[in-house]
């Protein structure tokens, strides 16, 4: 099971490489304003993700063209992708089970 914050950060990074604020904005938007990642929590999570090998920090010359050189950009690793996919399946399974029990699905 993937921590909720980690999951959302990795999902934000799944499409393209982003810096911290952009990740936070993406999460906020995607969760309909429900999950606001406060700064210390976000950057702590990014540090931990890098440490766990699920994300990596881009070197300065790898930054997307035209983007700020000052900010730190992050990219999801292959292992990170696998972890997100697995978590997505787990969530799907749980959601499916819930709907079956509620009688929404046969």
């Amino acid at each position: 099971m993937l921590r909720r914050n980690w999951f959302h950060v990795l999902v934000a990074l799944a499409e393209r490489d982003l810096h911290g604020s952009a990740i936070a904005e993406d999460v906020l938007e995607r969760t309909g304003g429900e999950l606001r990642l406060w700064p210390a929590t976000l950057y702590r999570a990014l540090d931990e993700l890098v440490e766990a090998g699920l994300a990596e920090e881009l070197r300065g010359d790898d930054h997307p063209t035209g983007e700020s050189q000052r900010k730190r950009y992050y990219r999801v690793t292959t292992e990170g992708r696998r972890a997100v996919a697995e978590e997505a399946r787990r969530l799907e399974a749980m959601a499916h089970e819930a709907r079956v029990r509620l009688g929404e699905l046969a």
């Binding site: 911290g20 604020s21 936070a24 406060w38 700064p39 210390a40 929590t41 976000l42 950057y43």
Partner: protein
Amino acid sequence: MSRPPLWFRVLLALLPEDFRRDHGEEMCELAALYAEGRSAPGRALVWARAGLDLLVVAARGRAGVLEGVGRDVRYGTRSLRREPGFALFAVGIVGLGMGASVTVFSVAQALLLRPLPFDEPERLVFVSNGDFGRGQALSAISVQSGQVESLRATATQFIDVGGYHLFDRRGDHTFHLSNGPVRVTRLRVTGNLFDVLGVEPVVGRLFAPEETLDDSPPVVLLTYPAWQRLFSGDRSVIGASVRLDDSSVTVIGVLPPSFDFTEIFLPGSRIDYVAPFPWGERSNRQGNTLAVIGRLSPGATVASAQAEAEAAVIPPADRINRYTPVVRPLRDHLSGGYRPTVLLLVASVALVVLMVCANLSNLLLARGAARKRELSIRAAIGAGRGRLVQQLLTESLILAACGAILGVLVAFNGTRLLASLDLRIPMLGHTRVDGTALGLAVAASAAVALLFGVAPALRGTDVDPNESLKEGARGSSEGPGQSTLRRALVVSQVAIACILLVASTLTARSLVHLLRTDLGYEPVGTIALRIDPSHRFDTEEARVQYLADMLSSTREAPGVEAAGLADMLPMAFNRRWQMRLLDRSDDPVYPFMRLISDGYVDAMGLELLEGRDLSAADVSGTPTVGLVNDVVAGLLWGEESPVGARVRTSGLELEVVGVVRSTRQRSVDQEPGAELFLPIRQVRDHGAIHLLVRGGGPPEDLVAAARAAARSVDADVPLDQAVSLGRVVDTSLAPKRFLVWLLGGFAAFALVLAALGIYAVVSYSVAQRRREIGIHIALGATNELVIRRLVRDSLTMTVLGLAVGLTLARLTAGTLQGFLFGVEATDLLTLVGVAAVLVAVAVAASWIPARRVLAVNPIEAATSARR
């Protein structure tokens, strides 16, 4: 973009250094992004939330450090629990000291510091009538409305000037609502007063200019509590017509809940609705009626406003009374008179806090010395000095935190008690412990803990493990420097206790003097019942008949010795009328005027010096008569008898028929003034009246008798506010009594602390000098000799403390004198008494621990070094 607040940047320092370096800037940017586009409070909330998040993350990252602190706290709690006496005492004195100071600070805040709840309150001024002295006496603050109109017409230094009518009284009117009549209290104001104060209605509107003239259709504003109480906050009452007394009025608006007019201007009373006091000649002719409030123009000063007010005074021919405007800031007028008292309390509580600090320091020093061995052992097994200091400081912080909690509890209850007391002090009811006071308490206790914990901690941990352990068998010892410091602390405590004792004894003696003061009347044994016949009688005959019937039926009631009527009770309202001799152009006098009936003189216990009392025959239609007091007689007639003389007052001509002895009817500590008494059966100028009944029985029986008698005459006349006159006088002394209790409490606390300080030093020195004492005794000194030496030692400290304290008391005598009545601040008896008490306490506090030498076995003590 919103910039990170300074405190947020400071918090960043809590994060591990590499984390801060890598992400600090971006964290600020993200929080700023969240804050963008919000209102100021919204932004503050976002930053606060981000700060909280930062704290949580930082705490998780530094769990190791927290663990160390946790260990210290656990260890400290354990070591304090081993000495519960010490811990409880330390927490107790810190708590009481802190509680007292926060309470006094909250009072100072309410009375002197917190802005008045009006728009730009610093620009509000009060214009009083300097011709009648200073202070709160109604005649000194009332102005005739023509003066206000004249000032308004020419004002450049004032944006506007308005006022409120001073002579509206409690429960004088009746709202006839669907569920029955309700007695209500009116306040009349000039139509512009709310604009002057900057008060907006919560519902409806304020008075329109055309509603503030004579004969304009009657409109009223409700106060917020009255709107809630009488109309359940129903908005449809706005614009509705309500029956008030015998006519109907339109409710046009509701004043905001923050507009607590009574608490600010008329503490101890209540206001239900506000009606306009019309501008114009009719109001002007009523004489001095208004308390005047102005709002200064931008750039105007009190001095420039004063000059303008003086220039606008109407010519003598149009004046009904003397008038010299005195402009001063509104807050000065409201609470300026209490400033010295509040400052006295602040100074006293500061002394108490100093004493608490000295005591705590003393305790911690003693404890540090006693724990030297324990610390040496910890140092010997490898604890660094920093570690030991941190440990000791944690202990003082635990003590301070517990003390602060107790202090906050004390302060909350103290302020609640204060605010609920009926002391008639403006804004005292608004006293509460707010964030500032709490912050101050927390900061102060932390400061006390650090300041008074650091020195003992540094001293206590200055241990050389080898040396300490080697001499360990002899127990710890302290150097001469430390002993001098402890003695100096005791001397200062005695000095402080001395000052506080002197101040509290003097104020207490003043109160005793006040209680024994001859008032000129006899309040005990008399009750007063308020009766409101004003709206029940159409004709003068009916009114006079009602008064006569009520008096005679009251006098027939069992237990009643005398009964009379008056329009005002002592110590409450007063009004002054101009009075001069007929056919003479001397300067007029301004006696306090009271409407009374026959029987009043006996019911009050006044002394008739010459002439006759008023009689039941002095009714309208007969020649007007009056009584004067001996002050008026002295002023107008000198040695001659005024009986039979004719005087003119407020449009009346009357004959003086009697002279009574003067009374202290404004307050117990004010000398009697001139007084004039007119027959209530001849002059109708009154609202509600008071039936005064004297009798031998308990006050409740008198009240019941008076009620029954009044009801038997007319069951529908409203009766209320039964009160014994003794109580009225008592209430007027409540603030003074309260000051005595507070100062007495501080002084008692100080005395206990000083005694404990002496006790601690002596018992400590007995413990320290066991060996020396043992040798003395072994060498032939008697126990008595040793005890006497210890007691003498403490007496030396006490005498030094007394010398300092009495000198300071002498130096501050001038300041203190202002609070005293009938006793000099340098009163020898008080000073000697205080000195004697302190010496006695010092002897007792040193003799008890000194007696422990009796338990010293000389051989054992003398040889203990070898064991």
